[in-house]
Amino acid sequence: MRTLFELIWRNHFVVLFVAIQSFCVYLIVQNNRYQHASFFNSSNAAVAKVNEGITYFKEYINLRENNQLLASENAQLRNMLSKITQPRDTTKPVVTDTLQKQQYTYITAKVVNSSTTLPNNFLTIDKGTADGIKPEMGVICGSGVVGIVQQVSTHYSTVMTLLHTKSKVSAKINANGFYGSLVWGEELNAHESILKDIDKTVPVKKGDTISTTEFSALFPAGIMIGKVIESKLNPGSNFNAIKVGLSTNFDNLSYVYVVDNLKKDEQRKLEEATQKANEQ
């Protein structure tokens, strides 16, 4: 036993090195696989406070562009409003639909930290459990889809953006309704993404718009994702890999909307029950 201690003491530098490195590896694996080490990331309140300060300055730099975005969004909303409030045809009785309940509510949040240059990119937003945000909620902005909420603390949450190698969003080509999965890889830049699993016989034109589908419980259908840049046959398969130019500009995101699907649990429960019933 004593010789063992002596051996350790003689090599204490190497032993300590191996110990610290093992701890680092533990942190890396833990954080990447389960996203559990919530203390060590930017939903940690102290770190988020600093990031908030950085963003405060960034907001000034992007003010002009954001104003434009907000203005165009306002215009769009106004258009929709005018459609709704158009004077009704007085010969038709007004029917109030009591069965059709509202499906989505939106929570506005400010982006306090973001990255676009890493292989796995995140946003931190300034809303958390206190504001009703839960993991696995969709996040959109005025110009398109942003990502999915990953971790939540009381006042902050982290969002896995579309620019994340594990991000996968169901998307369809508006022109013909064919759908596939939208993924991202680190060989792409912050304005591109790949729509895969589209059969090679499906006609795709440059400039076709891509939007969210009805299948996703995270996003309302028809939210803009981007436009087709080019379509290439995946070598050795029957599927095209379509390069999509994202409509969301991740470089200067300031305000986003977190989508709360009020019927998500209902949909999920039903689907799980069906699956279970089929397995038996």
């Binding site: 610290i20 680092c24 890396i28 060590f40 950085i54 240059t117």
Partner: protein, 170 residues
């Protein structure tokens, strides 16, 4: 002695702030990420105890990780640098050795010596970080290209900072 320690602590905060506030937001063609903060480990005094060096490396790395959502990756690379630094210093030591209290800096040992000393450590550091971040072998060469470009960019920043902050001794 106390002044030196205070200087080092101050340098730690300045470098971490510089990295997090400015350099992390720099993006050159999407492939170059300069990690200037590693200069802190390079220029610690030669006499720094080896064990202390490991802990300093861990604290430095984890501070950067906190802001990058990259838990452990920078810590891993920094501890690794801290581990190989003493042996590397011994290997490239000038003929008459180091004096106590000396730091490996350009003003003491000249440009050429510093370039050799720093480039190897910076390259190893970047190599570990970029490969841990990707953690797969597809795109292997594009990753190595990022390592190379980023290392060169970081080295330029390090050498510039050395000339900007210290006047050469006569």
């Amino acid at each position: 002695m106390i002044v030196t320690i205070l200087q080092i602590v101050l340098r730690f905060f300045v470098l971490v702030a510089l990295q997090v506030l400015i350099l992390n937001n720099i993006q050159l063609g999407g492939i170059v990420n300069p990690y200037l903060y590693v200069v802190f480990l390079l220029t610690l005094p030669v006499q720094t105890p080896k064990v202390l060096l490991l802990f300093i490396g861990f604290i430095l790395g984890i501070s950067i990780d906190l802001f990058q959502n990259s838990t452990g990756i920078h810590a891993f690379a920094c501890v690794f640098i801290a581990f190989i630094r003493p042996s590397w210093l011994k290997l490239v030591a000038p003929r008459d050795g180091f004096e106590p209290d000396e730091s490996p800096e350009i003003r003491k040992f000249g440009f050429r010596w510093f370039l050799v000393y720093a480039s190897v450590l910076v390259f190893v550091h970047h190599f570990v970080i970029f490969n841990l971040e990707i953690f797969r072998f597809s795109d292997f060469w594009s990753t190595q290209l990022r390592v190379l470009y980023s290392s060169i960019f970081t080295l330029v920043l390090i050498i510039l900072s050395q000339y900007l902050l210290y006047k050469p001794e006569k």
